[in-house]
């Protein structure tokens, strides 16, 4: 086994920013808005670095797809402990329409090219909430998947994954190579310390284009319109429980 882990990291609008829709309803405003690494991707990087520190794997490679700024996100991963990075250049209109299907094709191609033993992603991105990339990539590679992982342990050439599912926790054992997606409670990501950021500057980031990997990134989806959620309407106070029940019946809720 190569002992190499690929970690996908996505550059998204920072979670603390108040999102605004563009006046032409074609999307959200991204110009001049603070961006950072998707929180679930941070958890994924942390898990990969932990595995390396425990000597289960040998190399962590951080991958991101996007324009020039995606390199900042890769650098953050390098500062957290990844060894090198791969920046898949996707710009302009292509980037606006880049979705889980195209990204998973890219990851699948890279996983084969880099002979990866493991591919760890965040369970979903906080901008589109798709929750598809990990699953699609596993399917394209025909690899087992351990999604919504809240605990991961390597046992020989198998992986034990504890998954958070609606009913509770499910524990599975899967073969390697595999795809894992990180859920919230998997770990607490470390801060990228300033000395590590300085060291990360010396680490390499390779540049590739989707075409080099033989991937077609044309989108099959077209976004028609983006709207803000409707404003929360004022509530109504009622005097007694009977009034409440009556009102609920009236509105057809019960």
């Amino acid at each position: 086994m190569s002992g190499r882990v690929l970690v996908g990291v996505k550059r998204v609008i920072d979670y603390a920013v108040k999102i605004r829709v563009k006046p032409d309803n074609s999307g959200v405003v991204t110009d001049g808005v603070k961006h950072s690494m998707n929180p679930f991707c941070e958890i994924a990087v942390e898990e990969a670095v932990k595995l390396k520190e425990k000597k289960f794997i040998k190399e962590v490679v951080a991958v991101s797809c996007g324009p020039q700024q995606a390199q900042e996100t890769i650098r953050t991963a390098l500062a957290m402990g990844a060894d090198r990075g791969i920046h898949v250049e996707v710009t302009g209109k292509d980037y606006d329409t880049l979705g889980p299907l195209q990204v998973s094709k890219i990851f699948a191609a890279l996983a084969k090219k880099e002979d990866a033993q493991l591919l760890i992603l965040g369970k979903q991105a906080i901008d589109d909430d798709c929750n598809q990339t990990g699953q699609m990539t596993a399917a394209l590679l025909d690899w087992p998947q351990g999604t919504f992982a809240s605990e991961v342990s390597l046992e020989g050439d198998k992986i034990k994954v504890v998954r958070e599912i609606d009913g509770g926790l499910e524990t599975i054992k899967i073969n390697t190579p595999a795809v894992l997606t990180a859920d919230l409670r998997l770990n607490t990501p470390r801060y990228a310390t300033l000395p590590n950021i300085m060291k990360a500057k010396k680490k390499k980031i390779a540049q590739v284009k989707p075409a080099d990997l033989g991937v077609d990134i044309t989108s099959r989806l077209e976004v028609l319109r983006v709207d803000e959620p409707p404003q929360r309407l004022a509530g109504v106070t009622v005097e007694t429980v009977d009034d409440l029940v009556a009102k609920l019946k009236e509105s057809g809720t019960i």
Binding site: E72, Y191, T193, L194, P195, K201
Partner: protein, 622 residues
Amino acid sequence: MMNVNRYVLSRSLHFGQRLVSRSTRRAATDAERLQQRRSIRTQSRNLAYAKDLFLGQVNKAEVFPYPEIGNEEVEEINQLVAPVEKFFSEEVDSAKIDREAKIPEETLNGLKELGLFGIMVPEEYGGLGLSNTVYARLAEITSLDGSIAVTLAAHQAIGLKGILIAGNEAQKQKYLPKLASGEHIAAFCLTEPGSGSDAASITTRATLSEDGKHYLINGSKFWISNGDMADVMTVFARTEVVVDGVKKDKISAFIVERDKLGIRGRLAFSACEVSFDNVPVPVENVIGEVGGGFKVAMNILNSGRFSMGSSSAGMIKKLIELTSEYAATRKQFNKSLGEFGMIQEKFALMSINAFVMESMAYLTAGMMDRPGLPDCSLEAAMVKVFSSEGGWICTSEALQILGGLGYTKNYPYERYVRDCRILPIFEGTNEILRMYIALTGMQYAGKVLTGKIKEMKKGNIGLALGMVGKKLRASFGSSADLGLTGKDGVVHPSLAQSAKKFEQNVDLFGSTVESLLYRYGKTLVDEQLILKRVADVLINLYAMTAVLSRSSRSISIGLRNHDHEVLLTNTFCSDAFFKNNYWMTQLQKHSPENNDANIKKIAREVLENRAYVCSHPLERTF
């Protein structure tokens, strides 16, 4: 005739006068990173920009264009800033720190791991080796918590600075690595109960042992930040030196380690008092030369001041965010607070102040980062005075916006106000710094003018005609043209009006300085109220320079929201222009606007009485 030839300056000018810090460049090993090592040289000073303002001249090349850093460095700064901001917003509970008067161990450890204890220590000693500009940028974030900001600044801006700029290689190798990682914490021990502003009068003594291997330090220091937890202290004490066969008591700087006290040594700490009872210090621990400690002290203090500009600006920017949220939503008289003029004025005040402070701070940091290391102590002092007073006013106004809520402990505003109150006091009181600013410039102007007089006496007709011509022009009221505007002007055309006002101020300032030197000569040193105005005008001039330079660049490169910058610049310059003119009017001979004589009389009578002097208004005499 002008008797500025024998211009003697008192000890108030001795703050680091004859020194300049010089750097040596190390060849870059990777990318564009330049390391700068500082050492002290005893040469005449290479003062940066502000000195020429005293002659009514603008040294354009120093401040235009606004200092810029490379693309890579910008990216790097953004990278460095992100985790620090994240840490402060998630892991720092300022209210708790304030309440318990203590920074929790985990928070301190987090700060150490982030690398914030050795920002400017060179990489070879385990630090981050970052420039003044990056240090200032990080100070914007650490200022969000007053206690942390002071702890970090006391540690690296002054605590370990002595070793960094004046220590020998052995000392650097021995102490810097652990200090940079935060394993050891540093403190700066100069002030004593009896010696605050008058730093040269300290009485702590260091006597050489008989075997010549140790000094024993006795005395007590006061107001020492980090005093209770410092492992390595830079201590200043009097030592006996022999100069030209005469025994003199001069100050030396020592590195004192807390855990190497020896059997008889004792170090006691209370809140911020550190007392030394026969504490042994090996002779190798003298920083610089024996007897050269005062210069070391002044150099240390001069080099750290500029960051107060960016830390105050960072704090005010945060306050603007918090208060504007409130002003937009809180309604009274059926209107939101933001629609009322007096509230709007407060936001303008905070924005302008933050704008000026950061412009000045980064201009100064940019100048300090240049090769050859010009002595920017004058500029740094100006940044400190402006930012400390601006910060105090702005936090107070921010609290006012919140009204009663601002006053309560449930909100952070009163904490910001409390934390800000120390700014005009420590790191050199603003009163002392104003004296320093005014006198340093006056000394420079005096020397230049004396030089010109000598030339004229030697018969340099051209020079004489030049000076006469200048006086004639001034009396005909032609406005000054110092090359800031016009075809080859360095200032962008949309700022032309403000630039013209600046030029007018500078011109008038030059002649005001000349006339003051002529009128007062050596006695100028004791005229604090005059020097205060000189300093205030100069601070405003430097501020105007900074905003003109910064917004010119912003427009030229098309930075986002540059039109707002133009607005702030013009508003500030217009205001400063009038204030400067008012002060300079008061400085004219027999100016009716000048109440100084009365002020002194009032003070004399009150101090004689040791109380308010007037009879009570309700008293009767019949």
